[in-house]
Amino acid sequence: MTHQPSEKKSTFSRRNFVKKGALGGAAVGLSPLGIPLVKAVEKAPKGKLKVGVVGLGGRGGGAVNDIMNIDSGTVLWAAGDISKDRFKKIEGISKKFSGRVDTDGGKREFVGFDAYQKVIDSGADIIILTTTPAFRPVQFEAAVAAGKHVFIEKPYALDIPGLHSIVETAKKAQSAGQSVLTGLVWRYTPHLMEMDKRLQDGAIGDILNVSSSYCGGGRPNQMPDPKFKPAEMSDMEWALRFWQNFLELSGDGVLEYHIHGIDRMAWWMGDQLPVRCYANGANIAPVKGANNWDSCNFSYEYADGRTSSFFGRQIRGTYSASGDNIVGTKGRAVAQGNSAFIEVDGKKIWEGKSNLGYQQEHEIFMKHIREGKVFNDVIGQSANSHAIALMGRNAAYSGQLITGEQIMASKDVLLKDIKNLTYETPFKARESAVPGKTKFL
C-alpha cells in the first residue's frame, strides 16, 4: 500500500503487546480490574434468568433466539419497541421456546421511546439492546446503572462523546460485576478464533500489515425518494424508519456495517489505536435524501510504524466480498468469507471454515454470567474498533490527516438530547460530507 511513512523508526514487537489468553479472558485481561470479582462469584445465578429486549427488529429477535437457544434457563421476561407491530414476533418466540416466554400476558411489553426504561425496571436480569444504534449510549447507561448484564449490538457509539459514555458505563459494569457483550460477531467465529490463536503463537511471525475489506451488494433498508413520505409522517419517524441511510442515526455505513471488517482488521493488528489515519470515501451511487456514503478507503499507521488499510463499499451490482489479508514476517494469513488459511513458504499450513459466531458469542457471555465471572469485551477491544472506525470516517469526511489524539478529543455530537427524542423531535439530516470542505470537529 502507498502510505505517507512517518519519521518514526519502527520499534514494534507485535507479540509483546498482543499476546493474549483465551477468549473472554482476553477482554477482561486488558481491563484495569481483572477477574473474577468476588462479588460476582457470590452472585453466580443458578436457575431462571430473565431476559429483557429493547428493540424488536431483526437483530432483537435474533439475539433473543440465540441467548434462549444457548441457555435453557433463560426466559423472555420483557420487551420494548417504538413500533407496536413488532410485538407480533413474540408469538413466534413463544412457539419455539414453549413455556419460556413470560411477559405477564403482555403487561411487560412496552411501546414508546421510554420503553427501554420500563424493560430495565421490569425485573429482568439480562438486557438486550438492539434498537437503532443512536440510542445505545443512553440505554446502556440506564441498564448498567440498574445492575443488569447487557448485550449491546454494534455499533454502540456513532460519535466520540458517545464512545466515551459507553466506555465509562462499561467500566462501571466491570467494577460492579456485570457482564457486557458486543455484537461484533466475527470475533466469536470459530475458524477465526482458531486462526487468531495460531497467529498469537507466531505462525507467520510478527504481523506487518493487514488489509481488510467489507463489501456488500448494496445498502440495507433501501429508502424511497422522500417525495413518497406521507404528509402525516414526521421527519423523525421517516428517518427512524430508514435509519441506515442517516449519519445521525447509523453513524454512516462505516459504523453500521463496515465496522465488522474494521473490527477484524483491529483484531489482527493487536487492538491498538492507530496514531494516524488518512482516508477517502464518497457517495458514489447516492440515495435521494440520504447523507451516508456508500464507499470508503481508510489507511492507518500505528505507533511502531506498521500500517493497515480498510476498503468498504455498499453499492448494488458491485463485487462483494469480506476478508482480510494479513502479512507477517514469516508468511501470510488470509480470511475470506466463511473460510481462512495460513500460508508459510508458499504452503498452506492451516485451513479453517465455520459460520459466523452468533451462537458462540452468547455461549461465552452466558457461561461467564452462570459461573459468576465478568465478561466485558468493550474495554480495550470493541471500543477500540469503534474508535478506529470513527477515526476513519472523520478522516474521510474531512479529507484531513487525523491523529489518534485528535480523534479521541473530538467533540462532535451527531444528535443532541437523545434521551428526550420522540417522533415530534425535529430532524434535518446534515449535508453529505465533502472532503476538503466538511470540518473535523
Binding site: 437483530r59 413466534g92 462483494s320 452468533y358
Partner: protein
Amino acid sequence: MIRFVRKFQTSPIFPFIIALLCAGTVAQAETAPDIKPALAKDGFDEEEMRLAKAIHKRILDYQGIKKKTNNGKEEELIAFQDPLASGAHIDMLPVKGGEFTWRGEEEDDILKVSLSPFWMSKHEITWEAYEPFMLSPIPRQKDGQPLDFMRAQIKNDIEFIARPTPPYHPMTFGMKRDGHPALSMTQHAANKYCQWLSFQTGHFYRLPTEAEWEFACRAGSDTNSSWGADAQKAGEYAWFGGDASTHYNVPGKKKPNSLGLHDMHGNVLEWTLDQYVPNRREYFAKDKVHNPWVKATKPYPHVTKGGHWQQSLKEISAATRHQSTPVWKVADPQRPRSLWYHTTTPWLGLRIVRPAKIPTVEEMYHYWNSGVEADE
C-alpha cells in the same frame, strides 16, 4: 375468489387446450396430473390471485400475438432464447414428454412416470439473469412487498410481485460473480423469480418438479449419470470434487447431456418444486404416475437435485436427493429468518422450466406461492 374460479372454468382456456392438442405440441392425451395434496381451489390470497390472473392474461395474449404473426401456427417445441429487460437472456431447450422409471432410496420405491413436454433452461440461472430480480429498484418490506405507503404510487403490476430485501452479506461467499450461477436463494425466492420472469417475458416459468428434473437429467439414460456408468468420464461432464474443490464455475464449460443440458450433475445444487417424501411409491400409492408433484405442506425438507461442486461423484448422481434444512439458514442473525436467503449454501442455485401447456390461473398461483415459505 370462488366466484372468479367458477367464471374461469367457462373461459377461453378450453378451446386453447384443444388448439394445443391439435397442433401436436402435446404428444399424449390429457391425463390428470398426480399432484398431492390436491391443489386448494379457494382460500387464495386475493392480491396474489390478482397478480396470477394478470400474468396469466399477459401470457395468453403473447401467445395469441405470436400465433398471429406465425400464420396461425402454434409455437413449436424447439430451442429458443428468452431476452430479459436487463439485457441478459436465458437459453431454453426442448424436453419432449415421455416415460421413465423412477427409483427411490428405498428398494420398493419404484414408479413409472410419464411427463408432458416442457422446455428447460440449458444452464443454471446466472447472476446476470437473477440479480436484476434480487436487487429491487424500490424498497421492500421483509415479506418482499413494497412499503405500504408507496403502494398507491406504483403503476406497474410487476412491482407488486414480492421480491428480496437487499442481502446483508456478500452472496457470492468470496467467489467470483460474472457469468457464474446465482447462489443461495430460498425456494420461495426461486418461485418468485419464476413469477417475475413470467411477467416480463410473457412465457410461463416455474421450477421443475422433482420428476421433471430427473427425467431431463437422465435424458434417456438409466445409469447413475447421464454419461453412463464410466466414472472416468465424470470430469468431462461435471464440476464436483468434495472438499478439495474451492469454488463454483461458469455453467456450460463441461459437456452437456444428450438433450444439450449442461451441468445437471454438479456445479450448483438445483431447486425443485417438491417436498421431500422418503418413499414416493408409498406416498402416491400407485405404480404409475403422470406429472407428479409432491406439493409442500411445510417449510422443510424440499428436494434439491444434481449435487454441487463441493460434493463427491456419488452425491451428484441423477437419483440422489438432497433435502433442504433449516441449517441452511443457521448463519442468519435475524429473527424471523429471511424468506429470501440461505446463508450457508455457497452451492445452491436454480434452473427453470417452461411447460409446453400453459397452466390455469389456479395452477400458476400454486406454482408461485408455496404458502409454507416462513421458517418458524
